[in-house]
């Protein structure tokens, strides 16, 4: 059964949306009208320019409120994420590993390529974790190795071999101009060339990472914004315990 939903302002189905954007034009009456017509051109039914201000001689900033009649069938939507199912808690994950796997799970993580931003991999792996979600180093049944930033793909793979990793986590924070994609694709190519792609569960994470993108690049899963260690650990331990592997 279809369940159509629309944006909600203060009344069901009012379709209210807030927008802000900049146009490369001088501010003034023409700029205001241009912004309004532009918003209507995007398919909105009504548009009120609530605020506009010059950013420079040739640039104007707008805050607009608009109304849309477009809705979406919520029941027909499936989530794009490797973490779609509810994660287990840290203690449950450790119990699950003891009962179903019977040995420590080895996880190697790194921020690869030129990316020097360890904030993502640290949030997942460091003892302290992030936002009161402990990192993998705190899990008694996980042997976690965080190699840090700017790790070449080759070194990461070599290290994963050495410690007999079950899973490899790659964090990519800098994604401007898609600099990360080539490096991630190269990682998978290296594993495939060595005939070892099936040996490790490969996971990529970062603020601009989606599960769909990860799958396209040949990873097993991708985790985006708001991911904690238990999301990643739940995915890995369930996949390890699954008979199909």
């Amino acid at each position: 059964m279809a369940r159509i939903v629309r944006p909600y302002g203060d009344t069901l189905d009012d379709g209210k949306v807030q927008l802000s954007f900049t146009l490369p034009v001088p501010s003034g009456a023409r700029a205001l009208e241009a912004a309004r017509e532009l918003v209507l051109g995007w398919g909105f039914r009504e548009c009120e320019i609530a605020h506009s201000a010059p950013l420079d001689d040739e640039f104007t900033f707008f805050v607009a409120y608009a109304k849309t009649e477009r809705g979406i069938d919520f029941d027909a939507v499936t989530a794009d994420s490797g973490d779609a199912e509810k994660p287990m808690a840290m203690d449950d994950i450790n119990d699950f590993i003891r009962e179903r796997i019977g040995r420590k799970v080895v996880i190697v993580g790194a921020c690869t390529g030129f990316d020097a931003h360890t904030v993502g991999i640290d949030a997942i792996m460091n003892m302290k974790g992030c936002n009161h979600h402990y990192g993998l180093e705190r899990y008694p049944m996980v042997e976690a190795h965080n190699l840090g930033a700017q790790v070449p793909n080759e070194r990461l793979i070599e290290f994963a071999r050495k410690v007999r990793a079950d899973a490899i986590l790659i964090s990519q924070v800098v994604t401007q101009k898609d600099v990360h994609l080539e490096n991630l694709a190269r990682f998978v190519e290296l594993l495939e060339a060595a005939g070892e792609r099936g040996r490790f569960i490969c996971v990529v994470g970062g603020p601009r990472v989606s599960n769909k993108m990860a799958a396209q690049l040949g990873f097993d899963a991708g985790f985006g914004r708001g991911t904690y260690a238990e999301d990643v650990a739940t995915y890995i331990v369930k996949k390890l315990a699954a008979p199909a592997r």
């Binding site: 802000s20 420079d56 900033f61 020097a116 009161h132 840090g148 700017q150 603020p207």
Partner: protein
């Protein structure tokens, strides 16, 4: 700024004297060494410039060719080539870029070569001194026009010409300082790219031509706005002294120049970093450039509440290394940051107390205050609220350099409109809070006073531990930022050179003679 915390003067003095004892062995190591980057910076200040067809810069070609002679310094051999061939500096640079090998010429007339080198060093440093005088004149002409604290904004499009548009807009909106963030991983290049650049990732290449382009644009908009707009770049990495040299030649006003950042956060070899930071800071000192240090990084990688003492300890060390390079307190933009977990009750009081503590312990230093980044989630509305509290603390505690927080932190490099929102928010808060800092006192045994005392006590304990272990061993043992860096590990160790008794560097000698090195 009236003191509010009642911090023990004896404890502060003890911390400074511990910092002196901790840095002393490192400073004597530095005295005995030079590096490829120090030699390249020296040649740049003597006029070496340009690049070969593959883009390898002339200073690299020259210093690489002189690799075996570096224990004696590169300056003499560069000058020797000028004397022996009778070339001008421009001609010699062109020849080097076409494959001419400096090391193949024997030393013809040592006295003439030395005289030539002295002449070039005097001329390069003369240009630096003229830049400093030009800055001081502009600052005097536009006295009182800049914000207090200075509002610092970042541009990072990757394309220097697009950066100019963003910078101009930011300056017109109220920015006092424009920093051009470098492209990802430039700090790991052992050379400085040449010419104007339009492609970068997460930032724009630092090149001398890019410095010149942005300097000219900011001077232009500064004249229109009747305000001096400062230009900033980043020296951390394998080319620290060269970036400082280029900044001095093109009148940059601030440079990110931490004594240990490269070791801890970029995995650059510690010996190399310590040697490079010294020479780069001497250049900055002479150029009248304000350095910014990177203590904020300790708080983004570790917990901001628990590790506050590592910031203060690092500030004491950065201060000591800065004095040893001839920098004056007004040139020491010691770093710290507003990075506490917003879910901690009273987090604002702790941040306020720590910012006030930094102000009282370093009263003549401009202090570079960094905005929240770690708990910026993509919720732009919550982000703006955090930035507002940060703006409040900065004004109320008299910080010197205020890096504006972006409501879109953690989403993208700032849009033009993100910067405008940040400037407007900061100007509103700072106007509303103009006299707040002078009008309040802190409760004597209150949360804030106790917090500041506690951080100072922990800092003293940590500095004592460092003194016992030794700074380099402490870094190797992971006592900073939870990372361990082995002494012989990291990048750039091959560029470290032990000085021979014959070592001769006319630029360094002139700097040392002119600077109040302590």
């Amino acid at each position: 700024m009236r003191e509010k915390l009642g911090l023990s003067k004896e404890k502060i003095a003890a911390a400074r004297s511990l910092a002196g004892a901790i840095c002393a062995p490192v400073l004597s190591f530095i005295d005995g060494h030079t590096s490829a980057a120090v030699e390249r910076a020296t040649l740049r200040l003597m006029g070496a410039d340009g690049a070969d067809r593959e883009g390898v810069p002339v200073p690299n070609l020259a210093v690489d060719a002189l690799r075996d002679r570096l224990p004696g310094g590169a300056a003499l051999w560069y000058a020797n080539a000028l004397v022996a061939t009778g070339s001008s500096v421009g001609e010699l640079n062109r020849k080097i870029s076409e494959g001419f090998d400096l090391s193949r010429l024997p030393l013809a007339d040592a006295a003439a070569a030395r005289a030539k080198a002295e002449e070039l060093a005097a001329s390069g440093l003369g240009r630096v001194a003229a830049n400093r005088a030009a800055r001081e004149k502009k600052l005097a002409d536009f006295a009182g026009a800049n914000g207090d604290p200075l509002l610092y904004l970042i541009v990072a499009t990757g394309n220097i010409f697009e950066d100019v548009k963003q910078a101009r807009s930011a300056a017109r909106r109220g920015a006092d300082v424009i920093a051009v963030i470098r492209t990802t991983a430039q700090s790991l290049l052992d050379y400085v790219p040449y010419g104007a650049t339009t492609e970068g990732f997460g930032g724009t290449y630092a090149t001398q031509e890019n410095f010149r382009i942005m300097r000219a644009a900011l001077d232009e908009v500064g004249e229109e706005e009747k305000r001096y707009i400062r230009l900033t770049n980043y020296a951390s990495g394998l080319c620290m002294p060269e970036i400082a040299a280029m900044g001095a030649l093109e009148r940059l006003d601030m440079i990110l120049n931490d004594s240990m950042y490269g070791i801890l956060f970029r995995d650059i070899n510690m010996y190399r970093t310590f040697v490079d930071q010294r020479f780069s800071r001497m250049i900055n000192a002479y150029a009248g450039i304000v350095i910014n240090t990177g203590e904020d990084n300790y708080l983004t990688t570790s917990d901001a509440f628990d590790k506050a003492y590592t910031v203060l300890a690092s500030q004491f060390l950065n201060e000591r290394f800065a004095y040893a390079a001839g920098l004056e307190p007004w040139q020491m933009g010691l770093g710290h940051a507003y990075e506490m977990d917003p879910s901690i009750p009273d987090s604002f009081l702790y941040e306020f107390a720590q910012a006030q503590m930094a102000r009282e312990i370093f009263p003549d230093h401009p202090l570079k205050y960094m905005p929240p980044t770690k708990y910026m989630s993509g919720d732009i509305f919550a982000g703006l609220t955090m930035d507002t509290l940060f703006n409040f603390v900065s004004k109320a505690t008299g910080q010197g350099i205020h890096l504006l927080g972006m409501l879109t932190e953690a989403i993208h490099t700032p849009f033009m409109m993100d910067r405008a929102i940040a400037v407007d928010d900061a100007r509103y808060v700072m106007r509303a809070m103009a006299s707040f800092g002078d009008d309040i006192e802190f409760r004597r045994d209150g949360i804030m006073v106790r917090r500041a005392r506690d951080v100072l006590d922990r800092t003293l304990g940590f500095l004592r531990e460092l003194e016992g272990t030794g700074l380099m061993d402490a870094i190797a043992a992971g006592m900073f930022a939870d990372v361990a860096r082995p002494k012989d590990g990291g990048k750039g160790l091959d560029g470290l050179v032990e000085k021979d008794p014959s070592y001769w560097n006319p630029v360094e000698r002139r700097l040392a003679a002119a600077l109040p090195i302590r």
